[in-house]
């Protein structure tokens, strides 16, 4: 297992390889189980790898350690990306991915409560993860434990009123151990997220709600690693990272094509995707 404190160069190469591996795993899982949301999975894999390999203070052997740092995938429809990330990070055997979403299996299309080690919360209905993360961050303060809580939201999820209820609470209580990462892939289920609702200016909205914001390329592992490591910002504010991403990232014929919100790849498309990712 990769040591998060390893040499940055080695770490960077490891993370890049891991991103490709997880992208390939997710494409295969979607094909085999006929599960949708592939495009939404591919956009957040750099974020998850940067968090799990370079930021989170975690021990996969102790997934319930009270002092651990937590990550909630609030955009639960990207569950395949989370499962593949956790398996490759050593939370559970890789073989669990082979039976994903089969009848009776532990891993469903949206993560259930305690379905696998490392899954912090059941998500799927949007707008729940931030509130749960706030509770965890506040619990750290009440119990005098220092840990950070990371919550990955989708841009579409910023439609939910509960997201902004949470944003105001976190700012009011100065929860600087809370970090939101918006996987801003510019699409929601049926349209451009800027056309469906007035999302812009997104970073300025969070700032106006009392957060400290950073905007970056959500596919740059180096930028993500730096931004995650620089949290908290020391301003007494919660941090939001607006990660500019591409839906379907990593597979040329899926990139920025919203059909892949629901489309299932054929075996030929899996082969081509794996070829592009340099996997065999």
């Amino acid at each position: 297992m990769v040591n998060p404190q390893a040499d940055p160069g080695v770490e960077h190469e490891t993370m890049k390889r891991m991103v490709r591996t997880i992208r390939g795993a997710v494409v295969k899982m979607s094909h085999r189980s006929r599960s949708p949301h592939l495009g939404s999975c591919l956009s957040c894999i750099d974020i998850l790898v940067a968090a799990y390999w370079s930021a989170l203070r975690i021990d996969p052997a102790k997934p319930a350690d009270p002092g651990r740092e937590r990550l909630i995938l609030s955009k639960g429809h990207a569950a395949m990306a989370l499962y593949a990330t956790l398996a490759h990070r050593g939370f559970f055997p890789l073989s669990w991915l082979d039976t994903y979403a089969e009848d009776g299996d532990r891993l469903a299309e949206h993560p259930g409560p305690g379905c696998a080690p490392g899954v912090e919360a059941a998500t799927g209905s949007l707008g729940h993860g931030l509130g749960i993360g706030i509770g965890m961050a506040l619990a750290g303060r009440i119990q005098e434990r220092w840990y950070r809580v990371f919550v990955v939201l989708s841009d579409g999820e910023c439609n939910e009123g509960s997201t902004w209820e949470g944003a105001m609470f976190a700012a009011a209580h100065g929860l600087e151990n809370l970090v939101v990462i918006v996987d801003d892939n510019k699409w929601q289920a049926t349209g451009r997220s800027r056309e469906v609702l007035a999302l812009d200016p997104l970073a300025a909205k969070w700032e106006a709600f009392g957060w400290s914001s950073v905007e970056l390329d959500g596919h740059s592992l180096a930028d993500l690693r730096e931004a995650l490591r620089q949290t908290p910002h020391g301003t007494g504010k919660p941090v939001v990272i607006i990660a500019n991403t591409v839906k379907g990232k990593g597979v040329s014929f899926m990139e920025d094509d919203n059909n892949w919100h629901y489309r299932i790849p054929t075996s030929e498309e899996v082969r081509r995707a794996h070829e592009e990712l340099g996997l065999r």
Binding site: A122, G131, G133, G135, A139, E165, G166
Partner: protein, 326 residues
């Protein structure tokens, strides 16, 4: 009931450092003692019930025992999905407390009536529904709910209701408390309507009708043992609640009854009708309109004993409406 809630919260928080009280911007001075004693374990979550509920889930996932508190309708139906997914699906030890339930805040209008909360809460797998009948039962219900380790909904009235227990009763979740013994008629009361049941029970007994009165402080799970001893043995069993006749306590008993052998016992649901009031009016006014006064209850029981059929339940507009023309 409200003051009893604040007092027992302070007592329990003193005993258990894991208890955290979350308020939805109500109870301004109610929690002054609590806040002074436990400043790091009280949060005014603002007028944001969805976030308050999800936040409670996050606290519980981290080993704490949160209690959310605001007006019943806002703390249940407003944030129903957060209760369903974040609390019940995760089976977390969170206590949801709804104050001003039923018609307690009748004067504030239908926006503040909570006549659907029992129905909504009891359909959620893993949710326990508690409706204490007086201030002493509120204390006991909170103690039981916080010690239960699973999601609980505790439904409160307002303040100043009559108290029937001289001290905090022993409250076992799922076991009703019999306040008056009887053999002919059973008045089963859920929550803040208990004073009506108690008075009706006294009046009927004085008229020579042997009447049992019980406080069903738990609606889910039901006290099936007590119910099984009533149907087939009593002439009339009536449920009382300040809640819609659809999906509430009476419905729960009716659902249970469907799986039982037929009996000669007459079963009456005394509840609020399937309609919104569109006029101003206080709790007494609406109880009067909906047949939930002591005299109306007694009259219904006398009619049932004489074999008269129940009147058809009042609905919105009292009958099916013409479809609206577009």
């Amino acid at each position: 009931m409200r003051n009893a809630f604040a007092a027992i919260m302070t007592e329990l928080a003193d005993q258990d450092p894991r208890i955290v009280l979350l308020s939805g911007d109500i109870g301004n001075r109610l929690f002054n003692t609590y806040k002074a004693k436990f400043p790091s374990r009280f949060y005014n979550c603002g007028v944001a019930e969805a976030n308050m509920t999800s936040l409670a889930a996050g606290l519980a996932m981290s080993g704490l025992k949160p209690v959310t508190y605001t007006i019943a309708s806002f703390n249940t139906i407003r944030c129903l999905e957060q209760i369903k997914i974040d609390l019940c699906y995760h089976d977390l030890p969170v206590v949801v407390v709804g104050t001003g339930a039923g018609l307690s805040y009748a004067r504030l209008g239908a926006t503040h009536h909570s006549l659907e909360d029992i129905a909504q809460m009891r359909t959620l797998p893993g949710m326990t529904v508690l409706c204490p009948g007086d201030a002493q039962e509120v204390r006991a219900a909170l103690r039981a709910a916080i010690g239960y380790g699973h999601p609980c909904y505790v439904r409160l009235g307002k303040k100043g209701e009559p108290v029937f227990h001289s001290s905090e009763p022993e409250l076992v979740i799922g076991r009703a408390i019999v306040l008056q013994q009887g053999e002919e008629v059973a008045l089963l009361s859920a929550g803040n309507v208990l004073p009506v049941a108690v008075e009706a029970g006294k009046r009927l007994a004085a008229e020579g009708v042997s009447t049992l009165v019980a406080s069903f402080h738990t609606i889910k799970p039901l006290d099936e043992e007590l119910l099984a001893g009533l149907f087939g043995r009593f002439r009339v069993v009536a449920t009382l609640e300040e809640h819609s006749r659809l999906g509430g306590f009476g419905s729960a008993v009716g659902e249970w009854l469907l799986g039982r052998p037929r009996s000669t016992t007459c079963f009456e649901i005394l509840a609020t009708p399937d309609c919104y009031p569109h006029e101003a009016g206080g709790q007494s006014y609406l109880r009067e309109a909906y047949g939930l006064t002591t005299e109306a209850v007694c009259q219904r029981i006398r009619q049932a004993l004489s074999g008269e059929p129940s009147p058809p339940p009042m609905t919105q507009g009292h009958q099916p409406k013409e479809p609206k023309k577009r």
